[in-house]
């Protein structure tokens, strides 16, 4: 049962390593977008502190969105997807493996880099911890929901823009609870409610999204 899961996971991690420039480009995009905001809104420290959680979260969301095409695009073009769909093992398993590999190689670097960028916005220690935690809990949901969108738009002309239209409204709750958790912590009301809701969302997405994604992939491969 786990054989295809591990095979897909190992292969996608190896591919990410071989094509590590792509991974670094995503990280670079994240850093640059975050660094743009002080130029736009001014470098007043209080204001920067106030917008930091939202800026970091929106940047993480956009970085995810722009890298989602990597998840299935290559496999769709070269016929690997077809072969995977013909595997006797359950489709959701290897779909999950692909999403896990994607999260490890795309979102995890963002989670690691975020506290460093938070320092540029003069965020304090506790806020940075909550920010990392919220990103660690929230980015899996972004990957899972994004995977459904990526599967639905596979092979379509103008798929990138369409993907944004499909998944960004779905990302709003994650943005609200993710950025909200840091603000709640800073305002003294405590971030645990936000973080619990994010974990609940992550679990729900983990259970439901792979099925939708598998169905969408079957439709796309027709």
């Amino acid at each position: 049962m786990l054989k295809p899961f591990l095979a897909v996971l190992a292969r996608d991690l190896l591919l990410a390593w071989r094509g590590r420039a792509d991974v670094l480009v995503t990280l670079g995009f994240f850093v640059i977008v975050v660094c743009l905001f002080p130029f736009g809104v001014g470098a007043e420290p209080n204001q920067l502190r106030a917008i930091a959680p939202g800026v970091l979260w929106v940047a993480a969301l956009l970085a995810t969105l722009l890298s989602l095409h990597r998840l299935f695009g290559q496999d769709f073009t070269d016929g690997t997807l077809e072969q995977l769909l013909l595997s006797p093992e359950p489709t959701v398993l290897w779909v999950l493996a692909k999403i896990l590999a994607y999260w490890l190689t795309t979102s995890l670097p963002l989670v690691v880099a975020a506290p460093g960028l938070g320092l540029l916005f003069d965020m304090e220690q506790g806020g940075l911890r909550v920010l990392s935690l919220s990103l660690a809990l929230g980015t899996p949901i972004l990957s899972l929901l994004g995977a459904v969108g990526a599967a639905l738009t596979l092979g379509l002309r103008g798929g990138g823009m369409l993907l944004a239209l499909l998944v960004l409204p779905l990302f709003v709750p994650i943005l609200i609870f993710g950025a909200g958790s840091v603000e709640a912590h800073l305002s003294g009301s405590g971030a645990s409610a936000h973080l619990l809701l994010l974990s609940g969302g992550a679990l729900a997405a983990l259970v439901l999204a792979p099925w939708a994604c598998a169905a969408a992939l079957r439709v796309a491969a027709e």
């Binding site: 379509l156 960004l168 969408a216 439709v219 027709e222």
Partner: protein, 255 residues
């Protein structure tokens, strides 16, 4: 040449496009007339009978359009999700066509709700737009409609479009309550005191009556338009079949 498997079920009898097409043609005008009559009564009630509101003056009358449109926009999305689920479970072609036929009407009501909300908001709140929880979730619902329409139109193979749209509609339907509650949560944190729609003054019976009749008119309108749209979708889909050829000849629509 319809390829529907023949089943004993009565439901599936009308699930075949060929049998549903004439039925829809008979039902649509009925609902259209119903919609027109109800809208006439509803508008008369709302603009001439219902009393002027003590605090808001005449401007409140926009709710007779705003509230039914907002209800309808949410309800249509649920109906779309229902038809999508039916299409996935029973593999009936008509279900996906129903979902597709409903989407533009749902988006239209969504837009009307936002537009009338802004018109109401300007004199009441002093701004066309405030990031109120209802307005914001209504806006996100409009994006969900746009996403559905854009996806189904972007996919050239109609069957693939149907099925991808169905998956999206279901994913969206699961997310609609999540979006609504998250936006509400966010809203209470960010702006405590603003005029809230929930604190509307207690309504006179005529107001409530007008609103309900307008809601029924919106229902009838949606059904009529969806039926007409599904008829053209059926013709487009099945244009290579013999029965559509005969139908087009009958209407004199084919040279």
């Amino acid at each position: 040449m319809t390829m529907q498997p023949s089943r004993g079920f009565h439901f599936f009898h009308f699930a075949a496009p060929q049998t549903f097409y004439p039925l829809a043609g008979r039902l649509a005008p009925v609902f259209a007339v119903l919609a027109a009559v109800l809208a006439a009564i509803g508008l008369w009630l709302s603009f001439f009978v219902a009393p002027t509101d003590a605090t808001q003056g005449e401007v409140y009358r926009v709710i007779f359009i705003h509230v039914p449109a907002a209800w309808m926009s949410m309800f249509v999305y649920l109906v779309m999700a229902f038809w999508s689920a039916m299409g996935i479970i029973f593999n009936t072609r008509l279900s996906a066509l129903m979902a597709r036929a409903l989407a533009p009407t749902g988006a239209m009501f969504c837009f009307v709700a936002l537009w009338t909300g802004a018109l109401w908001g300007r004199p009441t709140w002093g701004a066309y737009w405030v990031w109120d929880a209802r307005l914001t979730s209504q806006l996100l619902l409009l994006f969900l409609y746009f996403g559905y329409i854009a996806l189904t139109e972007a996919i050239e193979d109609p069957r693939r479009g149907d099925r991808a749209g169905a998956i999206l509609a279901l994913v969206g339907a699961v997310n609609v309550p999540v979006i609504y509650f998250s936006v509400k949560w966010w809203n209470t944190l960010h702006q405590g005191a603003s005029v809230s729609l929930t604190k509307a003054p207690s309504m006179a019976t005529t107001m409530l009556g007008g609103m309900l009749i307008m809601a029924l008119a919106a229902w009838a309108y949606t059904i009529a338009v969806a039926l007409w749209r599904v008829r053209s979708l059926i013709l487009e889909r099945e244009r290579h079949t013999d029965w559509v050829g005969a139908e087009l000849d009958r209407q004199g629509a084919r040279p």
